[in-house]
């Protein structure tokens, strides 16, 4: 699903965020991307859904070279990839329900179906009682769950999650991981960036470790 070949990313001349990263995540796999802060986890995820372009190297997602796809095809890629952002990236002026339904809205899904599916996704993350709240009225953990619901609503082929349990208490974190497992069992490839070692150990899944922008183990 994800094939990275000698990928490097430099934001400035002095330091590189990623250097010579070669790794593969198979279709249907569930794996963790870990490493200390600043190791390049977030940067790698950004390269996968083409928020950033690598300075060198190639990345293939579902067989398509995302480093070379034309600008006009980027939305298409992003619609197939669900992303849970570290800072949630919720639309502040829209309700929880609207935030989640937005992904379907831009696809032209009829409004009734948007609402039905958004409700389902929010129910799955335990937020169906806050449909009409605005993001800033929610706690950090709740906002994170909205972001997760949004990432999952369109049943993406690939789910990228950047510290998805960082703001959650252990029980809720376990709930979310269970949710990811379920999504994975339905065929979605899942890549979770985290430095929560306990969570990784509990899951027993494959772990890719980055250190100072390089793959330390995989």
């Amino acid at each position: 699903m994800i094939q990275a070949f000698h990928v490097a990313k430099q934001y400035d001349r002095e330091s590189s965020a990623l250097a010579d990263v070669t790794l593969h995540v198979k279709k249907g796999e569930f794996c963790f991307l870990t490493g200390p802060s600043g190791a390049g986890k977030t940067t790698f995820l950004k390269l996968v859904f083409r928020e950033e372009v690598p300075s060198s190297g190639q990345i293939l997602v579902a067989g398509r070279n995302v480093t070379a796809i034309p600008e006009a095809q980027i939305p298409e890629l992003r619609r197939q990839v669900g992303v849970v952002f570290q800072d949630f990236k919720l639309l502040k002026r829209r309700t929880v329900l609207e935030n989640v339904a937005f992904v379907l809205r831009i696809l032209g899904v009829p409004i009734k179906e948007q609402k039905r599916r958004a409700f389902g996704a929010l129910k799955a993350v335990g937020l169906h009682h806050k449909l009409h709240a605005f993001p800033l009225q929610l706690s950090g953990g709740e906002q994170q769950r909205v972001a997760i619901a949004r990432a999952l609503i369109n049943e993406p082929m690939l789910l990228l999650a950047d510290e998805p349990t960082g703001n959650l208490d252990p029980e809720m974190a376990a709930e979310i991981m269970k949710l990811f497992e379920e999504v994975n069992s339905r065929g979605t490839t899942v890549l979770v960036a985290t430095h929560d070692r306990e969570m990784i150990q509990r899951s027993g899944r494959r772990v890719i470790t980055l250190e100072r922008g390089r793959v330390a183990s995989q």
């Binding site: 992003r78 919720l90 502040k92 696809l107 032209g108």
Partner: protein, 297 residues
């Protein structure tokens, strides 16, 4: 149906945005309205003058003023000879009394002037109307030449030169209007583009998120284009309303002008009004395209 839903979304978003910062938007609507008002006012003026020129050129007239003392037979023979000239459509005999009547009808405020003068100051005349057509001007000049010195003729009035001057003036009015309107229209586009740019700037986070969850460029830009277009459309409608009001005011104040023109003043044609309003919408669209072109969207 997906495109229809997208369109509904664009309009909803645009209306919401217009409402959220209604003061700023009122400013750009007003700018567009003023510029289109000026343009429309000049168009109306030029249109009316055009009508006059056209009417007068279609009916070229040469007026021969006759001597007060000219004997009746002389006038009759003059009239007969003029009627026989090629290219002449009609010859009207206007007596001194009739001329006085006309004056009184046209200038009601001055109706007592002849009494004050204690005599009728208006001469009688023969009004020759030429057959319309390309040759009319030549015919008129020939008549003037031939009968200027004829017995009984006191003076000749041939107003073609004046008409030609008037049509030059109309062209000038139209040119000035286009120039002034053009400058103002540019200002309007500039205002709209800046207002849209402010909106884009204020909502940059939101737009970034939209991009990240897979919204296409068109989908992100759509609401802004509609927003600009709505501002322009509103501006066009406001300008039309203002023009209508101004027109009513002017026509009420100047029945005399209408009398002189020989017909009531005409407002913009329905087509011109439509062009004005749709033109406003286009200006808004151009304004938002300009600002989106400058931004990262």
């Amino acid at each position: 149906m997906a495109w229809l839903r997208a369109l509904v979304y664009f309009v909803e978003e645009a209306l919401l945005s217009l409402w959220r910062s209604r003061l700023v938007h009122a400013l750009s609507v007003a700018t567009i309205a003023v510029s289109l008002f000026v343009l429309g006012a000049f168009l109306t003026l030029a249109g009316n003058l055009d009508g006059v020129v056209e009417r007068w050129t279609r009916q070229i007239q040469v007026v021969f003023y006759v001597e007060d003392a000219a004997p009746e037979e002389v006038l009759r023979s003059l009239e007969a000879r003029l009627k026989a000239e090629p290219g002449v459509a009609e010859v009207d005999r206007v007596t001194r009394a009739q001329a006085l009547e006309r004056f009184r009808a046209l200038f009601r405020e001055l109706a007592t002037l002849p009494e004050d003068l204690r005599e009728n100051p208006f001469p009688g005349s023969l009004e020759v109307t030429l057959q319309p057509g390309a040759a009319a001007r030549e015919d008129a000049l020939r008549l003037v030449e031939r009968y200027r010195e004829a017995p009984g003729v006191e003076d000749v009035l041939f107003d073609l030169l004046w008409i030609e001057r008037l049509s030059t003036a109309v062209r000038l009015v139209r040119g000035v209007g286009a120039l002034l309107g053009g400058v103002l229209v540019l200002a309007g586009v500039f205002t709209i583009s800046n207002v849209i740019r402010l909106t884009v700037y204020a909502r940059q986070d939101e737009l970034d998120i939209m991009r990240l969850v897979g919204a296409t460029r068109a989908y992100i830009r759509g609401p802004f284009l509609v927003e600009g277009m709505l501002q322009g459309l509103l501006g066009g409608l406001v300008s039309l309303a203002l023009l209508g009001l101004a027109f009513r005011f002017v026509t009420r104040e100047s029945e005399a002008i209408a009398g002189l023109l020989g017909r009531p003043l005409a407002f913009l044609s329905a087509e011109a009004a439509l062009v004005l309003v749709l033109g406003g919408a286009m200006l808004g669209l151009v304004g938002s395209l300009v600002s989106l072109g400058r931004s990262r969207l």
